[in-house]
Symmetry: C2
Subunit: 352 residues, 2 copies
């Protein structure tokens, strides 16, 4: 097993990068690279009834995961799924309505937390692991496969709020007014996330990214408790179970709080759009920590030359660090396919 | 004039603080301290038809500005107004609808920018300056009067979007796709903001705060152009016109980008809830720069003892810096009046 992994690293730039290797041209993938901006994605999406059905049908989820790699030749595929399949597998009603955000049956009491079904998660998410297996077999040899999950705070925030929100006031309030309930919910999610990510690794995911999309809604003290502690435990337990699979943390919006996430033992740290790259290279600890990011997805809607200029400035500023090129947030649905093509091609060929 | 100002500083802790003085107990005011959480505010609000009518009626705006100072004894009053009175005075239709955010007639083209009426701003905002004059006369001698405006990028973002937004995609997109239009809009707003804040200072405002509430929606390069440059110009020109009136910058959400705002020559820098105070005291430049903040307003909804503990930790971490205590964001409408009373009383009396 370890031998096979070592061989893979030698031909997969993204995995080498997560072990600290520096490349003249950084490996690249884009958050939400499989999605609505692609006509071939929209064709498949319109052929199924619901978004969750797409996530839970290995044939379709595999195809959708592979589409951007086939079209653009990114250095990694990321499993097509959603962070809310975990609460769904815990027994929470989750609906994705066209044109609206996701809606969840709210979980706001100790009783509701006690009704969650962590024992059922791995069985219910079996189709996701089947997708991981199929993608792993289908990928070109130099392309890495990334699995992912939402971080406990972010998933808890959706569960408490009952959907998306600008600032998640109900979740932030519950964390303060009912810390025992919040602790129970976050611990349930932390354990389930470790099991879920561990099973993705066992099925063939070579990298695991933890999306804490709403970490920025919490002040530093609350963030330490609800984001840093669970992330540290997830990194530690995954390393024990799958030492060959690096973890990338993405604590979106934490700004000056990034250094605390750089010290949790993860192999990679994804930077959101707001982070100045020169600050990051200076302040984010060990130069062996691989930094990922952080072009603004809006740049892909603007003139292509200006966008390429920004991308090159990020690459230049990351010189000397292990760097995986990415956006600082997901690809927007209105992104022109040509802009993504131009970006990936430029990163693979431009003089640096 | 300068003599009078010097005398005032000697009895107004908040002004002394903005000149670098350190206090055992920091002066305190709270963003949105005049607002819906106060029954006496709701009584006045329900007596007028519209929110803008309240802003433009000096009798009522003066009363509402004074209410929290009268009840809690903060060290400063902040003019009751809204950042969107500036686009309104520029000729843009602005409506505040109950239970929804503000709605503006969108400004998205060079033609629409050219139709703005900067020459009319000071006349149209005369009632605001009258409110400033009345509040200045009514305040207790130790209480400072803070005027404010929205920063050009934030006001432009509302104007382009036509209202509030989670991420202001239209404004971010326009800035990239039509930089000449964006430049014209931001320059118009910058000049109008300097005039508007200058007139507040002339009417008696002793401190001016610039709210860049959506600075965090921009990546660093865009932020340099649309936030830092205008803020630097506003600080510089106000200093030339009113050297005795300190400016506080509030670039919400910029995280690791805060140090760049600390170097613009402003007397104070307001920290949002996400900023770790120990990081701020270490990284934010000259110890004479006064830091303001940054308790999470959600803490005021939780148990009072826990909230006071957090407030005291912020005060303790700020020791050695000029510090004005504040929240990291505005007081929430559902905040219990007793929580605000307990916070202000504790800051004024607790052993430190």
């Amino acid at each position: 097993m370890n031998n096979r992994r070592d061989e893979e690293i030698s031909v997969k730039p993204l995995l080498a990068c997560l072990r600290g290797a520096r490349f003249e041209r950084p490996p690249v993938w884009l958050m939400r690279q499989a999605g609505r901006y692609l006509p071939e994605y929209r064709a498949i999406r319109s052929s199924v009834g619901g978004f969750l059905e797409l996530c839970y049908t290995p044939d379709l989820a595999t195809e959708v995961t592979l589409q951007p790699v086939r079209r653009f030749g990114m250095d990694a595929a990321i499993l097509f799924s959603d962070i809310l399949v975990l609460p769904h597998a815990l027994g929470v009603e989750v609906r994705f309505l066209e044109g609206e955000g996701p809606k969840l049956a709210p979980v706001r009491t100790a009783e509701a937390v006690a009704l969650l079904e962590p024992g059922a998660v791995l069985d219910r998410l079996a189709p996701v692991f089947e997708t991981v297996r199929r993608v792993a077999q289908a990928l070109p040899p130099a392309t890495a496969l990334i699995g992912f999950a939402g971080a406990p705070w972010t998933v808890a925030a959706y569960m408490i709020e009952g959907g998306g929100s600008r600032e998640f006031p109900l979740a932030r309030r519950l964390a303060r007014q009912a810390p025992a309930t919040m602790t129970a919910l976050v611990e349930t999610l932390t354990t389930a996330t470790i099991d879920y990510l561990g099973a993705q690794a066992a099925a063939g995911a070579e990298v695991l990214q933890l999306f804490d999309s709403w970490a920025g809604a919490l002040p530093p003290t609350e963030r330490a408790r609800w984001c840093l502690e669970p992330a540290e435990r997830i990194v530690r337990e995954l390393r024990a179970r799958h030492p060959e699979v690096p973890v990338i943390l993405f604590p979106r919006g934490v700004g000056a709080g990034y250094p605390a996430f750089a010290r949790l033992g993860a192999a990679g740290l994804a930077l959101d759009t707001t982070v100045p790259v020169d600050w990051a290279t200076r302040e984010l600890g060990d130069p062996a920590l691989c930094l990922q990011g952080n072009l603004d997805p809006i740049a892909l809607l603007g003139p292509i030359e200006a966008m390429l200029g920004e991308a090159r400035r990020i690459v230049a500023a990351m010189k000397g660090r292990a760097h995986i090129f990415n956006l600082g947030h997901g690809v927007l649905p209105e992104t022109p396919v040509e802009a993504v093509a131009a970006l990936v091609a430029d990163l693979k060929t431009s003089a640096t």
